[in-house]
């Protein structure tokens, strides 16, 4: 009796759910852009989308991992979001090869998108010959940010080498400030390690080490040097560093409490959001290297296969909004990235973004960041190792290099 009652209730509810009318072209966007500069960038896309008559449902998560977790659960549960903000990582390849993602080959051919993207960007967006992700902006990991007032007060000029950088940091520390601001989360720490690999080894070595994972590259003395530099940076950590988020850490440089920070160029968005001007209030450089590389991380939208007509149209509309040059330019302006379209006017971007787009255009300079290049959970394992090496001062460089080699050779 009770069971039948339950069934009839479920049927009635089901009828209601199925009969809700499709009014507009809807997108349900799973993302993690929640800091002040990030939300400005997301609003740029949302506004452009709404102007075209779409209905935007915002599904933000606190961080990158949480957003991906929510998205995969929703896909597995048969209620996929319309779009997921992510990076072209192994997760994207997994989703695409299991047929979960809509491809945009038709729209790309119509819009001539391949011609307006750097080849390294285009390659990352395609899985098995299909365009399965659309780029929002191109970030790079290996940047160093500094406070101009702090450096000027101590008469320090922009460092050109790691030695100069550490000398400058020592001076700042001696004057009572924080030499190098470091956050306490392992992903922030491993970023410094990766930057050191790229700076000391150069782009070609990076490709051998991280992309191809060749055994010869693992024998190079660069590994030991990079871990030593990483250890050296860790000694500048202030007592409040453990657990601190990246944007709180950037804020120390923004407010002139700290001199330098190693962080990807999403940090520039935080400077800009605080009303600071590149070249005047803050400065930027790629991690000091003889041959600078540019470890790119692309923010992309992936579009899970949806069956509802209203939502399919919504995806198409969102794709058009994202690829519009004006939107790409605006996102780069507020978020600190470089536009993923090469035909976007970069003259309005600040000095740091100019350095970025120039390096991105330099042949051979751009490389895939480890987060996207390393297969499976290798990046996660290196992150654990970096976090451990950072905090456990009794771990020797030799032991760290050995673990690192073992991880890279484990797959």
């Amino acid at each position: 009796m009770k069971f039948r009652h339950l069934l009839s209730t479920m049927t009635i509810l089901g009828t209601f759910a199925a009969s809700s009318p499709a009014l507009a072209q809807t997108v349900d966007v799973q993302h993690y852009w929640t800091s002040s500069s990030e939300s400005k960038a997301m609003n740029t896309i949302a506004d452009s989308f709404k102007q075209r008559g779409g209905k935007w449902i915002d599904s933000p998560s606190a961080d990158f991992d949480a957003a991906l977790a929510a998205a995969t659960s929703r896909i597995a549960g048969g209620q996929p979001p319309s779009a997921i903000l992510m990076t072209p990582s192994s997760a994207l390849r997994d989703l695409a090869s299991s047929g979960q993602l809509r491809d945009f080959d038709d729209l790309a051919a119509k819009g001539g998108w391949q011609k307006v993207m750097a080849p390294i960007v285009w390659d990352k967006l395609n899985v098995d010959g299909h365009l399965v992700a659309l780029p929002v902006g191109v970030h790079a990991q290996n940047w160093v940010w500094y406070s101009k007032p702090v450096l000027e007060k101590l008469k320090i000029s922009e460092p050109k080498t790691f030695d100069e950088l550490f000398a400058a940091a020592d001076k700042i520390k001696a004057s009572g400030g924080i030499g190098i601001a470091t956050g306490g989360e392992p992903w922030q720490q491993v970023g410094i390690l990766y930057s050191a690999f790229l700076a000391l080894g150069g782009p070609e070595y990076w490709n051998e080490l991280i992309v191809k994972r060749s055994p010869e590259a693992l024998k190079s003395p660069v590994l030991t040097q990079a871990f030593d530099i990483f250890r050296k940076v860790s000694t500048y950590a202030d007592p409040a560093s453990p657990g601190r988020s990246w944007n709180d850490t950037t804020n120390l440089v923004v407010t002139d409490k700290a001199g330098f920070q190693f962080m990807g160029d999403w940090a520039r968005g935080e400077f800009l959001a605080a009303g600071k001007v590149a070249g005047k209030d803050f400065g930027c450089l790629l991690t000091p290297a003889e041959k600078p590389g540019y470890a790119i991380l692309i923010d992309v939208f992936a579009f899970p296969v949806n069956t509802d007509d209203d939502r399919i149209k919504g995806q198409t509309l969102l794709a058009d909004s994202i690829m519009e040059p004006a939107v790409q330019e605006k996102i780069a302006e507020v978020k600190g990235s470089v536009p993923s379209r090469t035909d976007v006017d970069t003259s309005k971007l600040d000095t740091c973004a100019q350095i970025g787009s120039k390096t991105l255009a330099t042949p051979g300079a751009a490389v895939q960041a480890a987060y996207d290049a390393l297969a499976g959970d290798l990046n996660g394992q290196v992150t654990d190792l970096a976090g451990q090496f950072w905090t456990d001062k009794s771990m020797t460089t030799q032991a760290a290099v050995e673990s690192f080699s073992n991880i890279l050779q484990s797959e």
Binding site: K2, S98, P239, A240, S241, D384, G387, Q388, W390
Partner: protein
């Protein structure tokens, strides 16, 4: 009818999920399930993974200290409350209150209190004791103990209430006999009252043990597993590998290993219960 229906639901969703997880742990699934059987590869990977081993060790350290500490502290409070103190219900409410606070809030508040710059250490230094140091939260060798402190604070009240209920159930005649014999109070508790309360204590231990094995939210809120990997826990390992590192196979292996581990930990309890009944 209803019972069968609900039993069916439990069987499908609970045991079904366990079986499915077990199957997944024998595959090389990454983001999405993959049903190709590869044997025990994932378990080999799991038990050679440094972070997993650290996590297991942490669970043991945390578990022992947390269970012993909470039991000791909760029992002490219960004994005090049992002495018919004034305003007993007020104190009971105060000590039970932390339980009403979620572990996330507990973790965050303790993180603020123990933060070396903005918390207790900063406060005491600000009052003039410049050399006062209490930076356990950021010390990789000691951070695990801060989790124990927060955990005990959170759960001691619950244990107090359960033990107090047990104490209130003790026969008045027993107390009369104790008074007539002139046995000192501490001996009365240790040697007469508590031995008769074994089932109550055993339930407390099981309750606390489930906290230990589930231990996730407190770690997330307080240390995020850091500094480094100093306070990683098995549950966090599984969640991280399920989602952030999209390795369904390894995460499932970790989950099954946790299940086996908890069954092993509970085995002595079941064994003693079983022996008493037969």
């Amino acid at each position: 009818m209803t019972v069968v229906f609900f039993f069916g639901i439990v069987a499908v969703f609970f045991y079904g999920s366990i079986l499915w997880t077990g199957y997944m742990s024998l595959t090389r699934s990454t983001l999405m399930p993959n049903y190709n059987f590869v044997g025990f590869d994932q378990y080999i990977k799991l038990f050679t993974n440094h972070r997993w081993l650290v996590s297991c060790l942490n669970m043991v350290i945390f578990g022992v200290l947390y269970i012993v500490g909470t039991l000791a502290f909760g029992t002490l409070l219960a004994v005090f409350a049992d002495r018919r103190i004034r305003a007993e219900s007020l104190f009971r409410t105060i000590f039970l209150y932390p339980l009403a606070v979620s572990l996330i809030v507990t973790g965050l508040s303790w993180r603020w209190v123990l933060d070396p710059v903005n918390g207790l250490q900063g406060l005491v230094r600000g009052m003039g004791w410049e050399n006062f140091t209490f930076d356990w939260l950021t010390d990789p060798n000691r951070a695990i103990y801060t989790l124990v402190i927060a955990g005990i604070w959170h759960s001691a009240g619950l244990i107090m209430v359960i033990i107090l209920a047990g104490l209130r159930g003790v026969d008045e005649d027993l107390w009369k006999a104790i008074r007539m014999e002139g046995i000192p109070l501490w001996r009365a508790y240790l040697q007469v009252i508590f031995p008769g309360m074994r089932p109550v204590v055993a339930s407390c231990v099981v309750l606390l043990m489930s906290d230990v094995i589930r231990g996730y939210d407190l770690v997330i809120a307080m240390t995020k597993g850091g500094p480094g990997i100093a306070t990683e826990m098995p549950a966090k390992f599984a969640v991280d590998y399920y989602f952030a590192r999209v390795n369904l196979g390894l995460a499932s292996a970790a989950s099954i290993a946790m299940l086996v581990l908890s069954l092993l930990l509970l085995a002595p309890y079941f064994y003693s219960e079983f022996r008493r009944r037969t």
